[in-house]
């Protein structure tokens, strides 16, 4: 039995008025674009091009590596300047193998044959086609969409859930997307309904954003598709969390360690759906995305349609440059965003927002005090955990207790940090502790598997031994009978 709506959670100031004032506009072109090969979940992509090759806008430049991986396309026409390790934002600035494309600013499109109308393709073919468009989850997980669809395809009674509930403060890229490209989202929804052979699709959006809601309802009405409906959810952080949204909209809970497909649901970000639409309808692969540039540290706060690989410094310059009160550059929102060491880092598929945060935007943490077990954190935890107990057992490194208290169910949303009077960085502690617990669990699993294989092998050797003895005994019997 699921809990109605988000259990706990926080009512936060969205800080998106400034960034949604101006309409969407493309970012001004830049000299060179840096494309990390491992900017999606799973294995890194393998380059198809060599330094010096001439590439067109939208031409595939890297194919998926083994297992879960994604295609990569050139975001501009020009020449491949180099394939070398370059600092990347998702590695906290550490270098990772990247393709550098020198932009010749002629923007010549790669004329791939436009794919046939999606209705004629079988769901399986449609899923593969989506994969070739380099489409990955743009909500922040950057999980290859084709793989996610394939994983859920065999579930029965599938329901599609489009996540437009942008609950994290400062981020407004989905908001602007829904206002200006609602039609893309509805078209993408119909493509995905066909790709999953699903019958119902719910677009979930927070109830404090009227314009996107209006745009979407108009687009749905225009499409005359009664399978798609709009659903408003309460504006509580983290309503937009995949697990929380599924519980709010469908009233079921994703089982621990399981996937939404286990409750016959597929949850996709509206940005991903728009990317699917652009690829299937206009044969334009995922080469650019909408990025919110906001925070009191940048002069003009707005949303830009940015080609992948654009350096963040160029984006800030495009929005009028720093305002001098700049203190911290964050990729993502103020609750789960990643603080970046410098701004010479490329925009990647996961960059939904860049906050040029000034001391006004940040609330400095006070000195850390011991936990007084007040329970404020367990009251706001959307995963219904007891962060004060998790913190206690993390300090004591008691892996068994951490497992029973559900450390692996923590979605690292930071609500517990927010309300903690002792100012303890709980989310970070749990994030650091998870690998240790996972390591123990995999070690135990490997030991059990090794024991099973050892027992099977001993049984096999015994069986072979017995058969050989039996055969020997029979032969000896025949010999004695004959003689």
């Amino acid at each position: 039995m699921a809990r109605p709506g988000v259990r706990g959670g926080l009512r936060l100031n969205a800080h998106t008025e400034r960034s949604t004032e101006h309409p969407l506009r493309p970012a001004s072109p830049v000299e060179s674009l840096v494309l990390p090969l491992d900017q999606h979940a799973g294995a890194a992509a393998v380059p198809l091009v060599k330094p010096g090759d001439r590439v067109l806008h939208g031409q595939p430049i890297a194919e998926p590596g083994g297992g879960i991986s994604a295609w990569l396309h050139s975001p501009a026409s020009g020449t491949v300047a180099a394939i070398e390790p370059r600092p990347a934002p998702h590695r906290m600035g550490a270098p990772t193998l990247s393709i550098v494309v020198a932009n010749d600013k002629r923007d010549e499109r790669y004329g791939a044959a436009s794919p046939p109308r999606f209705e004629e393709l079988s769901p399986q073919q449609l899923r593969d086609t989506i994969g070739r468009g380099g489409v990955v989850g743009l909500g922040g997980a950057v999980f290859p969409t084709a793989t996610k669809l394939a994983g859920a395809a065999d579930a029965s009674g599938l329901r599609l859930l489009l996540n437009g509930a942008e609950c994290e403060p400062y981020i407004s890229c989905d908001d602007m997307l829904m206002r200006e490209r609602a039609r893309d989202i509805v078209f993408g929804a119909r493509v995905l309904l066909h790709a999953l052979a699903a019958q119902t699709c719910v677009i979930a959006i927070e109830d404090d954003t009227p314009q996107p809601a209006a745009a979407l309802s108009a687009a749905i009405a225009e499409a005359h598709d009664d399978r798609i409906q709009l659903r408003l959810v309460a504006t509580i952080y983290p309503a937009g969390g995949e697990k929380q949204l599924i519980a709010t909209v469908f009233g079921v809970e994703v089982p621990t360690g399981g996937l939404p497909a286990d409750v016959s649901t597929v949850c996709l970000n509206v940005g991903t759906v728009a990317a699917v639409a652009q690829w299937i309808r206009d044969a334009r692969p995922l080469t650019s995305r909408i990025v919110t540039v906001t925070g009191d540290g940048v002069r003009e706060q707005r949303n830009l349609d940015v080609p992948l690989g654009t350096p963040m410094a160029a984006l800030i310059y495009d929005c009028g440059g720093y305002t001098g009160r700049m203190s911290r550059l964050i990729m993502g929102g103020s609750m789960m965003g990643q603080a970046l060491p410098h701004d010479d880092l490329p925009v990647i598929k996961a960059t939904n927002c860049i906050i040029a945060a000034s001391p006004l935007d940040l609330q400095q943490r006070g000195p850390e005090m011991p936990c007084i077990r007040c329970g404020n954190c367990s009251a706001v935890c959307p995963a219904v955990l007891l962060p004060q107990q998790l913190h206690w057992y993390t300090q004591a490194r008691d892996l068994q207790a951490l497992e029973t208290h559900g450390l692996l169910d923590c979605i690292e949303c930071g609500c517990c940090d927010y309300v903690c009077p002792s100012q303890i960085p709980l989310a970070e502690r749990f994030r650091d502790m998870k690998p240790a617990l996972l390591e123990k669990l995999t070690a135990d699993a490997n030991a059990d598997a090794a024991r099973a294989r050892f027992d099977a092998r001993t049984a096999r050797l015994d069986r072979i031994e017995r058969e050989r003895d039996a055969a020997l005994a029979k032969k000896r019997q025949e010999l004695t009978k004959k003689s």
Binding site: L12, T256, S327, M336, I355, Q363, P370, T404, A427
Partner: protein, 345 residues
């Protein structure tokens, strides 16, 4: 351009342990003021003595444990322990009573068990229990409330100070002349003597539903408690469970035998019930930590308080009830883990 990095989340609510403890102290002010009105400045002196000892012991313990002084000393937790302990002691108790109680509470009950956040037992109650068991006579020397119809003990502020510091009343009084039992204590002795509730209640000490003077102090405590609830410093589970349990026990027993058992309202507004429910039992460090756990914890304190008050040897059982339930907290926490999202059970 390089920037400093910090872990997510980058925005936290402006809260601190000191702020939480300060709010609890503000909520205690009405009780202390009314206590002063009815029983004279004795309590204020006790509080000053207690807080001084608390800060001294806290500083010494922090130094010994090699902890930095600034954030810990002024976080207010030691001060709250001292104030709560002083509130439980008679106003004219000798100075060494509150000093030794607070010292034991801070040094042994708090720092020996791991300092702020780790002490399983409520320090104030440990201190009070030590005093109650070691000096039972001293803790029964309460004063009659300064209300019309009761002959008040007119001790000036200076005389109160000398009484506390020297441990004996000024020449013109003897101890039993100026002291009088608390309503709870009076009721216990009367019932033990075989008087029925009706007769016992007729004594001058009692008014409509609690002891004269005491009922106003307890109402002030209730107001302070509701202020804490409104500010979400404490959660409703423990007070409601404790007062609920007390009310249920009181009404059941008094319904069974009205002559021999006090009514539920009397239990709620007398002794340390309200102070215990809103300020002592809700000490987050020594209480259970999940909502269901807090309900069990509160109810346990309520029932034990009633049992000790009615059949036990001491007039007010809140201290012992809290300590016994503190002992059970790790067991309660182990079996009241809420159902995690996505878990079957």
């Amino acid at each position: 351009m390089p920037f400093a990095t910090a872990p997510a989340p980058h925005v936290v609510a402006p809260s601190s342990v000191a702020r939480v403890m300060r709010q609890v102290l503000y909520a205690l002010v009405p009780t202390v003021v009314l206590h002063g009105v009815f029983f004279g400045p004795g309590l204020l002196i006790q509080i000053v003595l207690g807080v001084a000892t608390a800060l001294l012991c806290e500083a010494a313990a922090l130094r010994l444990r090699g902890k930095p002084l600034p954030p810990f000393l002024l976080d207010g937790s030691a001060i709250i322990t001292a104030v709560l302990l002083a509130l439980c002691l008679p106003p004219l108790a000798p100075w060494w009573l509150v000093v030794s109680g607070v010292a034991f509470a801070i040094l042994v009950a708090k720092h020996l068990f791991g300092g702020l956040g780790a002490n399983p037992f409520n320090p104030a109650m440990v201190g009070y229990a030590v005093l109650l068991v070691s000096f039972p006579a001293r803790l029964l020397q309460w004063l009659p409330p300064d209300v019309p119809g009761m002959q008040p003990t007119d001790l000036s502020a200076m005389e109160t100070l000398t009484t506390i510091l020297t441990g004996s009343p000024p020449a013109r009084f003897t101890w039993d002349a100026i002291t009088s039992p608390t309503p709870l204590d009076a009721l216990r002795t009367d019932l033990a003597l075989g008087m029925t509730m009706g007769e016992a209640h007729a004594r001058a000490l009692f008014s409509t539903f609690g002891g004269k003077g005491w009922e106003w102090i307890n109402l002030a405590t209730l107001a302070g408690g509701i202020w804490l609830l409104a500010l979400k410093i404490i959660r409703w589970h423990i007070p409601v469970a404790m007062l609920g349990a007390l009310f249920v026990c009181g009404s059941v027993m008094s319904a069974a035998d009205p002559g021999a058992y006090a009514g539920p309202l009397f239990h709620l507004t007398s002794g340390a019930s309200l102070l215990g429910a809103f300020f002592i039992a809700t000490d987050p460090v020594s209480a259970a930590t999940s909502d269901r756990g807090r309900l069990i914890y509160g109810a346990g304190i309520g029932v034990l308080t009633y049992v000790i008050r009615t059949w036990g040897g001491y007039p007010d059982g809140v201290a012992f009830a809290v300590l016994i339930m503190n002992l059970a907290v790790p067991l309660i926490d182990r079996y009241t883990i809420p159902r995690i999202y996505g878990h079957a059970r």
